[in-house]
């Protein structure tokens, strides 16, 4: 466990930004920190970065209570990011790397390596304002990782990148994990969560409402639902009646029926097929796996509905 937040609470005046939030980030994994806007993700990230301190609770980093020595072990790419416009790229990268505790010499060497890797050496003496937004994002990424931190925190890392650079960045993130870094990843982009994250925590209205490994969460939200497309032999659709089989949705188009079934817990896909095959010609069959997007929306909505009910 590289990072552990234990029951962290943070208030701004009367407003509670985080209410007893605990997260556990295993080492060498990618951790997704999810939640709607204003849920408190950024506050939690700022606490981990020691930009602010928690009112209650504690954060444990690598077995020790979070302290200023940890700053150089954490790399942070904030959602609101930018660079000094009038400063030269190389000068600025050196400055930021040194602020993270690298010596001037080390910083220069490592930066050179990264600049070569991204093939951006010729930008070294350019002013930041001369670069496009995507170029600036690359520089920003480099200065985030140049001090080889144990823990990397990316807040919406893909915003502002074109698809080619998104791929490049994703590959870099995966490689960072391969090389032993742990990555906390805050995003609204659920597709990237599914693709990259090993674990997630979902925060809504300053409270953590869901967390765990992505696979387990998906299993938990497994609904035993299937989507079937078929053609009817006797052109009378929707005639499959088995006890407990629930039809969630159905439609017919060009003689092809599409039906979504939910099965009782005791039944499986074979039972459904066995029941259907004597009557219809099955064209397509697939299990409905809940996407992280669905889980996100349904969980948040359910909690919010409860709130409304309670109040």
């Amino acid at each position: 466990m590289i990072l552990q937040a234990n029951s962290v609470t943070k208030n701004f005046g009367d407003f509670t930004a985080l209410n007893k939030v605990s997260i556990h980030v295993p080492e060498n994994s990618i951790f997704g920190l999810l939640g709607p806007n204003g849920a408190g993700k950024t506050t939690l990230i700022r606490i981990i970065n020691q930009i602010t301190g928690p009112d209650e609770g504690e954060v444990i980093f690598d077995g020790k209570r979070l302290n200023p020595n940890h700053i150089s072990m954490i790399g942070y790419l904030p959602e609101e990011r930018g660079l000094y416009k009038k400063m030269k790229v190389g000068e600025q990268a050196l400055y930021l790397a040194q602020l993270k505790g690298l010596s001037h010499h080390d910083a220069r060497q490592r930066l050179k390596k990264w600049f070569e890797k991204f093939e951006i050496q010729e930008w070294w003496d350019k002013k930041v304002e001369e670069l496009s937004k995507g170029m600036q994002q690359k520089i920003q990424f480099v200065v985030t990782v140049v001090h080889e931190p144990k823990l990397l925190i990316f807040d919406e890392p893909f915003s502002g990148f074109d698809p080619i650079n998104v791929n490049l960045l994703r590959d870099e993130i995966l490689e960072l994990r391969k090389n032993g870094s742990t990555i906390i990843f805050s995003t609204h982009n659920m597709a990237s969560v599914e693709e990259l994250c090993d674990n997630i925590a979902l925060i809504n209205k300053s409270v953590k409402i869901l967390d765990g490994p992505v696979k387990e969460i998906k299993r938990k939200y497994f609904t035993n639902s299937y989507h079937v497309q078929y053609q009817d032999f006797n052109s009378t659709p929707y005639q499959i009646h088995e006890p407990g089989f629930e039809i969630l949705e159905s439609s017919i188009e060009d003689g092809v029926c599409s039906v979504t079934f939910r099965l009782p817990a005791s039944k499986g896909p074979n039972d459904l097929l066995a029941a259907m095959i004597p009557h219809v010609s099955v064209i397509a069959f697939n299990e409905l796996i809940p996407s992280m997007n669905d889980i996100f929306i349904s969980t948040v909505n359910a909690v919010n509905a409860n709130h409304i009910l309670e109040s």
């Binding site: 930009i51 602010t52 700053i71 904030p78 930018g82 000094y84 930021l96 602020l99 993270k100």
Partner: protein, 471 residues
């Protein structure tokens, strides 16, 4: 500590490399040099003929004053009281009173006038008087010296001995004439007034502090806003504490200010010296023509010049700039510069933190207006009051304003050339340092929260909330 140094270094280097800094560094000395030269030039301009009543109780000096195009010297034989009454009745330019003393030849004179006598006239009077005094003293000295040395003295003997002797003589006769100016008020009351130069020095010092605070304070503010709008702030505060960033910025800009100030001083002296050496004759000529009084100086004969008695009668005719420098040295320049540096530095630090807090509280420069008011009011107020303080540097108003840290940098600068008791300076300096710590503490709290706030129109109530947030 290492990180704060990095921040200071970056602030300093980026600011010093800026075009605006280089332009200011060049323009500043030109402005300052003209500040030195202009008063001299203006002081020598006098259009109508002025009557100078001279009450010379010693009878030694009057005959030596020569009437010129602008000044006519009239002898007065009545008592001082009568002479003063006549002065205000007739509306003459001024009364010069040279009191007789019993033991020595007087080396002081008093000017009564309802106007400020020009520097040039005063220079002329003291020049004539010191020349006269020196003659008398020289005569006495030579007599003494020769009497004392008669046994060993041989005409045409060892010249080094004579040179040495002459030098000693010269040292002994060196005389500075002190002229006190009393301003005759409307009701005939005498109010002690000081030379224009003291005023000019004090006022220039306070204006410079005022300017520096605004100039460099605004730079801090703009720097903070820049970091906010370019969104680099969050990247940086994940590496350093907001307080470190704020202090690094403030100190970095302070060093820029000091650099600029020192460069200004150096360049100003270079320019003045260059002007002096390049056009010494022209300077003198124009002034002679316009003022009708040659720029005779209070300055003493040049020390390196051969110390023959003749050199005294041969007027050295230094130009008026020398006069200014001479007068400067009477103000105690080191104390002045030390005080200036201290009040500039801490005045700036006190306000700098507040400027940083304002920068943090807004999203762009146009929003700063509402928060600027509490900063500009005490500064402008102190500059306005400074004009009153100049007239009366020891009034209770002057005292209290030089204790309040928000006004003391400007007000104290006005007072220091007039001489301020050490305990007052120490107390004022101590309060200023405490004030600086106080505003920095307060500003740091606003700064810490403000730099991460976007898109929210902040107001004073909001700021108050930020101050009360826990770290």
């Amino acid at each position: 500590m290492n990180k704060i140094f990095l921040i200071i270094q970056r602030e300093y280097l980026t600011k010093v490399k800026k075009k605006s800094f280089i332009i200011m560094t060049i323009l500043g000395p030109i402005l300052m040099a003209s500040l030195f030269i202009l008063p001299v030039y203006l002081a020598t301009r006098q259009d109508d003929k002025q009557l100078v009543n001279v009450l010379d109780e010693t009878g030694l000096f009057f005959s030596k004053f020569e009437n010129s195009g602008n000044y006519t010297f009239i002898p007065v034989t009545s008592s001082l009281q009568e002479a003063k009454t006549t002065l205000s009745e007739k509306g003459d330019y001024m009364l010069l009173h040279i009191p007789a003393t019993q033991l020595n030849i007087p080396d002081n004179a008093i000017i009564y006038s309802d106007k400020q006598p020009t520097l040039n006239l005063k220079g002329y009077i003291s020049g004539v008087m010191s020349k006269e005094l020196e003659k008398h003293k020289l005569a006495a000295e030579i007599r003494n010296e020769i009497l004392r040395n008669t046994p060993g003295y041989k005409a045409g003997g060892d010249t080094t001995a004579v040179d040495l002797m002459s030098e000693t003589i010269l040292k002994n006769i060196r005389t500075e004439v002190e002229i006190t100016t009393y301003k005759t008020g409307e009701g005939g009351e005498e109010q002690k007034s000081f030379t224009e130069l003291t005023m000019v020095v004090g006022y220039v010092g306070s204006i410079m502090i005022y300017m520096f605070i605004f100039l460099f304070g605004a730079q801090v503010m703009r720097g903070v806003i820049e970091e906010k709008t370019s969104r680099i702030i969050e990247v940086i505060v994940s590496s350093v504490k907001p307080f470190q960033l704020m202090m690094g910025k403030i100190i970095g800009v302070a060093l820029v200010g000091l650099t600029q100030f020192l460069l200004w001083i150096a360049f100003t002296f270079i320019i003045i010296t260059a002007v002096q050496t390049a056009f010494p004759e022209q300077f003198k000529k124009t002034q002679t023509q316009e003022a009708g009084i040659s720029g005779k100086s209070v300055a003493l004969p040049n020390e390196t010049a051969p110390a023959a008695p003749n050199s005294i009668t041969a007027d050295t005719g230094n130009d008026d700039l020398n006069e200014i420098f001479e007068a400067f040295s009477s103000i105690n320049l080191p104390v002045m510069i030390m005080a200036f540096l201290f009040y500039f530095l801490f005045g700036y630090l006190l306000y700098g933190a507040l400027f940083a807090a304002i920068g943090a509280a807004v999203d762009n420069e146009t929003d700063t207006q509402q928060f600027m008011l509490p900063i500009t009011v005490p500064l402008i107020f102190s500059l306005v009051v400074a004009q009153t303080v100049i007239q009366n540097p020891e009034s209770p108003l002057a005292f209290w304003l030089s204790m309040i840290p928000f006004t003391s940098p400007v007000i104290m600068m006005v007072r220091i050339p007039f001489g301020v008791p050490t305990w007052e300076i120490a107390l004022s300096a101590g309060i200023l340092v405490i004030g600086f710590l106080g505003t920095t503490w307060l500003a740091a709290k606003i700064y810490r929260t403000g730099i991460l706030m976007y898109g929210k129109k902040s107001n004073y109530r909001e700021l108050w909330k930020w101050i009360r947030y826990k770290g």
